[in-house]
């Protein structure tokens, strides 16, 4: 579905340079992947590349196969077709942010339904169903500010799944939760993604938790280069 070959992203220069290198990565529906690595190892950069919000360096291949055919993402970036990228994001992607990333001015129902509304999809009961499955059905009419951090994170997961995207990305989805909540939220995320046949890729520093919910692990290997810069390489990709 998403195919990466020799994709690089560099920031800074000289000894301040940080580069992410993805020699090879293929994402398929139903996959469950966890990228583990210390903070600063390029997890977020990788996620942003996959989420089509960060442009890759020239060269390499980054393409997305969807119902509309093969899309050369790198070419779209080069052509500056931001709105085309936004459209692909809205249809193909669900993104769970570290802190929920909810809109404070909408209630929970509005937040979950937002991605569906943007696509012009009617309410087919999936918002409520998701809320039930994620155990937040009592919170539907509340504002995010009235929820606990764990509940907000569940709302974030519901929003990422509501429009049934092919690819669900999650950036440290359990980092701000207590261990008990973290385990439950992680479990719900994996279950619901799987139930929808989506590919789930998340980043975490909790190796144990990732293993316990059956995620395949990808590692980021950080190494200092001759020029003093740092290169992180994605390893173990299938």
């Amino acid at each position: 579905m998403l195919r990466l070959r020799d994709v690089r992203k560099s920031r800074g220069s000289g000894s301040q340079r940080f580069s992410l290198w993805v020699p090879r990565l293929d994402l398929y529906p139903g996959q469950r992947l966890a990228v583990v690595g210390a903070s600063g190892s390029g997890k977020s950069t990788l996620l942003d590349l996959l989420a089509l919000v960060l442009s890759p360096d020239p060269g390499g291949e980054l393409s997305l196969r969807s119902a509309q055919g093969e899309q050369d993402i790198a070419a779209l970036w080069r052509a500056g077709r931001q709105d085309r990228l936004a459209e692909l994001r809205s249809r193909e992607l669900g993104y769970v942010l570290q802190t929920g990333g909810l809109l404070g001015f909408l209630d929970v129902r509005g937040n979950i339904g937002l991605s569906r509304e943007l696509l012009g999809l009617g309410d087919d009961g999936s918002v409520r169903r998701l809320a039930e499955q994620l155990e937040i059905v009592d919170q539907l009419d509340k504002r995010p500010s009235a929820l606990s951090v764990g509940q907000r994170q569940r709302v974030g997961i519901a929003r990422a799944l509501a429009h049934s995207p092919k690819l669900v990305l999650a950036d440290e989805p359990t980092a701000s939760l207590d261990p008990l909540n973290a385990a439950r939220v992680m479990q719900l995320l994996v279950e619901q993604s799987q139930a929808r046949g989506a590919c789930l890729l998340l980043t975490t520093h909790d190796l144990q938790l990732a293993r316990s919910v059956g995620l395949s692990l990808l590692g980021l290997q950080v190494r200092r280069d001759a020029d003093g810069g740092v290169t992180a390489t994605l390893e173990g990709a299938g």
Binding site: A51, V53, D83, A86, L93, Q98, G104, F105, S115
Partner: protein, 400 residues
């Protein structure tokens, strides 16, 4: 569909952030309401003055000064000028007086006689005298005589014939009484033929129509009139006619100066208004721009979340612009209400005559103000919208 979604999202955020929204609205109302009142005062005041000038036919009168010599044909020529609404020759002042006897005990009233005819602006909708013995009275004359419409009055015209005072009497029928505003002195308005008959009699000639004795044979064909009653078609024509008469060497008295004063007052008030409006709007524009930029900075995270979810650039631009539009609309509503309250108060304070307003805005003026406000709001939001459009989805996603 998506426009509706954006309108709803922008409105939800606008409401959730109501303190900020209220600030923006109040700042705009604080400029808008006084400007509307000022605008209303300008158009009300100038409108009332102009109406007053336009409704008072006296303002359009052009009075020849000094004795002139005009033939009937010359005055007919004047009447045909496009700038002239009404023109009629006058007979000699000394010959144009009459003594009227009241039908009740009381003193004789001496009145001046004025010729009238179709289109006389002083008469307005009052009936024209159709016959030689039909006249209209000025209000003051009618009151002194205790006479009203339909009454018959005895009138006397005198002359000196070889040092002997003679006079003739005739009965005149009152067909109308002029309002006080139209003419203040004691006067009767009759057909030109009546005035010519009286002039002939004074000059010692016989008048067949009234069976008055005197010299036979008249010079009516070559009658020379010393002056005329003339009214310009509109206010602008007054100055045109004044210049025309001045060029012909005929001195005239006009209200051209009063008209010019109102015109220049209107113009100067206009300048004052636009200076104040310019200053006020510049301030409001700066405030609105700043608040739009501040709003985008405050909502940076929300906007980048929208971007991440896949909202296009236009949607983010719309988000900011719509909120500016909401501010504009609410401000217009509140400003309009404040204006209406002020208008009512001012009109109660200053109203002098029915139908006159110290402060008034026509609908099209209010619509103009509304369009300008919304336009300015959108323009002020443009800077914020531009910045919002440039927000990257990856920005601000991880600031906890």
């Amino acid at each position: 569909m998506r426009a509706g979604l954006m309108a709803r999202l922008a409105w939800h955020d606008y409401r959730a952030d109501w303190r900020l929204s209220a600030c923006a609205v109040l700042a705009l109302v604080a400029v808008l309401a006084p400007l509307l009142v000022l605008f209303g005062l300008k158009s009300g005041l100038v409108g009332s003055l102009t109406d007053r000038l336009e409704q008072d036919p006296g303002v359009r009168e052009i009075v020849p000064l000094g004795g002139g010599r005009y033939s009937a044909a010359r005055i007919d020529e004047l009447r045909r000028l496009p700038e002239v609404a009404f023109a009629l020759p006058r007979t000699r002042q000394i010959a144009a007086t009459a003594d009227l006897y009241p039908n009740r005990p009381g003193p004789v009233v001496s009145v001046e006689m004025l010729p009238t005819g179709p289109g006389d602006p002083l008469l307005g909708a009052l009936p024209q005298p159709q016959r030689l013995d039909e006249v209209l009275l000025s209000r003051s004359a009618a009151e002194k005589l205790g006479a009203g419409v339909g009454d018959e009055l005895l009138a006397a015209f005198g002359r000196l014939d070889g040092g002997v005072a003679e006079y003739q009497r005739t009965r005149l029928r009152v067909v109308g009484v002029l309002p006080l505003a139209a003419f203040q002195r004691d006067a009767l308005f009759g057909r030109l033929e009546l005035l010519e008959a009286v002039e002939d009699y004074r000059d010692g000639r016989a008048v067949a129509a009234f069976d008055w004795p005197g010299m036979q044979g008249s010079g009516a064909a070559q009658r020379i009139y010393p002056g005329f009653r003339l009214y310009a078609r509109d206010l602008d024509a007054v100055e045109t006619l004044r210049q025309r008469f001045a060029a012909e060497g005929q001195e005239v008295a006009t209200q051209a100066e009063a008209i010019a004063q109102v015109r220049s007052l209107s113009r100067n008030l206009g300048v004052v208004f636009w200076i104040i409006a310019g200053l006020g709007l510049a301030g409001a524009f700066a405030a609105m721009t700043a608040s739009a930029l501040a709003a985008v900075a405050r909502k940076h995270r929300e906007l980048s979340v929208l971007r991440l979810i896949g909202f296009p650039t236009a949607a983010l631009l719309a988000f900011v612009s719509l909120q500016a539009l909401y501010t504009g609309l609410i401000s217009l509503l509140l400003g309009g209400l404040a204006y209406l309250a002020a208008e009512t108060l001012l009109n109660q304070l200053f109203m002098q005559q029915a139908g006159e307003y110290a402060c008034r805005l026509e609908w099209h003026q209010y619509l103009l103000a509304a369009a300008a406000t919304l336009g300015f709001s959108l323009l002020a939001a443009a800077a914020g919208g531009w910045r919002a459009a440039g927000i990257e989805a990856s920005e601000g996603l991880r600031d906890v």
